[in-house]
Amino acid sequence: MANIPSATDATFEEKVLKSDIPVLVDFTAAWCGPCKAMAPAIEDLAREYEGEAAVYLVDIDENPDTRHAQGIMGVPTFMIFNRGELVERFTGSMSRSKLAAALEAAIEAAQ
């Protein structure tokens, strides 16, 4: 997913937990087929909510500290944070509309 920026162990706090706008984090891995299948939907969401919410990828193999801190047991896992607080968490493949509904609720709550 070339168009989605990444968060890392070094930047997760700054980019995600200290963000002023809601953040959708996609915990993924290079070997994860379902993650690849979800990629277009995540790109669509990033485009749709640009400016209202941020979207980041976290590769769990390259960022073990974040994986442990967030208790990631499988990929894909999606988390939505609002001002540093986790407001939604989904594990496994899911539709863009379900993620969108959760993100829209977070955007509304943030305003």
């Binding site: 690849k36 790109e43 509309s97």
Partner: protein
């Protein structure tokens, strides 16, 4: 799709048929950039391509059926929009029939209206899509079947130009709805599922033991059970022995706990058949573009 693109894609399909290998055709795990490049190369609408990929699941024959049915110059985006409307409204399959709430039904109808207008070239505002999604998400989805049906039409409430995977997303919600219907009909509970899981573990262990014994015996008789190499579990010999073990276990231990798995598998098979037929009908309903556009 131009005549030249159609011919090129049919050549690729013929090669895949000859080689018995669909790897040249995109499937669900193909990276998005490669899928987009494939769509551009063969002049296919991306949302339409997503639907074909999802239904083909590596079946080259389905690719051939769709491409051969596609009139020269026809716009696949219109077929995708019509397929969404078909899945929402069809008398037998339609998700709409599973929704009792009149407001939610109207919102689903609105999605089809927006899709129709967008496919006709109208610039539907982003806020119109978002409004209908919010309306669909803001009411109680009701029971599992209705909730999954709503999830299905909400999945399609996106502009296919900017979210080309949205039509294919409907298929996953459709599947969830069918599973919910089986669960409702069988009065399936968490306890029954837990018991079914335990039974499955015992069945798998029995089937593995059967397959391992068959491999040992074949090797003792000098048979090469893995002539192409690779893990033994992936060989046709092992798979056949494993499946026989499953069949033997079920025959020796009949149980209603297998019903949920049997019915959901049958429902998914039927879903793919209906979905493919539905898509082929929408493709056949497309009209040919003027000759000047077709040859472009």
């Amino acid at each position: 799709m131009s005549i030249a693109s159609r011919r090129a894609l049919l050549t690729l399909i013929a090669e895949a048929e000859r080689n018995g290998d669909a790897a040249a055709l995109p499937f669900y795990a193909t990276p998005a950039a490669e899928v987009s490049a494939f769509a551009a190369r063969y002049d296919l609408d991306l949302s339409f391509l997503n639907l074909i990929m999802t239904f083909a699941t590596g079946d080259v024959g389905f690719w051939r059926q769709v491409v051969e049915a596609l009139p020269p110059g026809a716009d696949g985006r219109i077929a995708a929009a019509r397929w969404i409307e078909w899945l929402w409204t069809d008398a037998e399959t339609g998700l709409r029939n599973r929704v009792g709430d009149a407001v939610l039904r109207a919102s689903g109808d609105r999605v089809c209206d927006l899709q129709r207008r967008a496919a006709a070239g109208e610039d539907v505002a982003r806020s119109d899509w978002r409004q209908v999604r919010i309306r669909l998400a803001s009411r109680d989805g009701g029971d599992d079947v209705q909730a999954a049906a709503i999830e299905g039409i909400a999945a399609a409430a996106w502009d296919l130009g900017s979210a080309p995977g949205a039509a294919a997303d409907m298929i996953y919600a459709w599947k969830a709805m069918l599973f919910a219907e089986v669960g409702r009909d069988l009065e399936w509970t968490a306890e029954k599922q837990s018991a079914a899981n335990e039974r499955f573990d015992r069945m798998a262990a029995s089937a593995r033991a059967n397959a391992d014994a068959a491999v040992q015996q074949a090797r003792a008789e000098g048979t090469d059970v893995a002539p192409e190499g690779g893990p033994i579990e992936t060989t046709p010999f092992y798979r056949d022995a494993y499946n026989k073990g499953v069949a033997d276990f079920i025959a020796a231990n009949p149980s209603d706990l297998d019903l949920y798995g049997q019915r959901t598998r049958a429902a998914v098979d039927n879903m793919y058949r209906l979905g493919r037929d539905g898509l082929l009908r929408q493709v056949a309903s497309l009209s040919t573009a003027p000759a000047s556009m077709v040859s472009a």
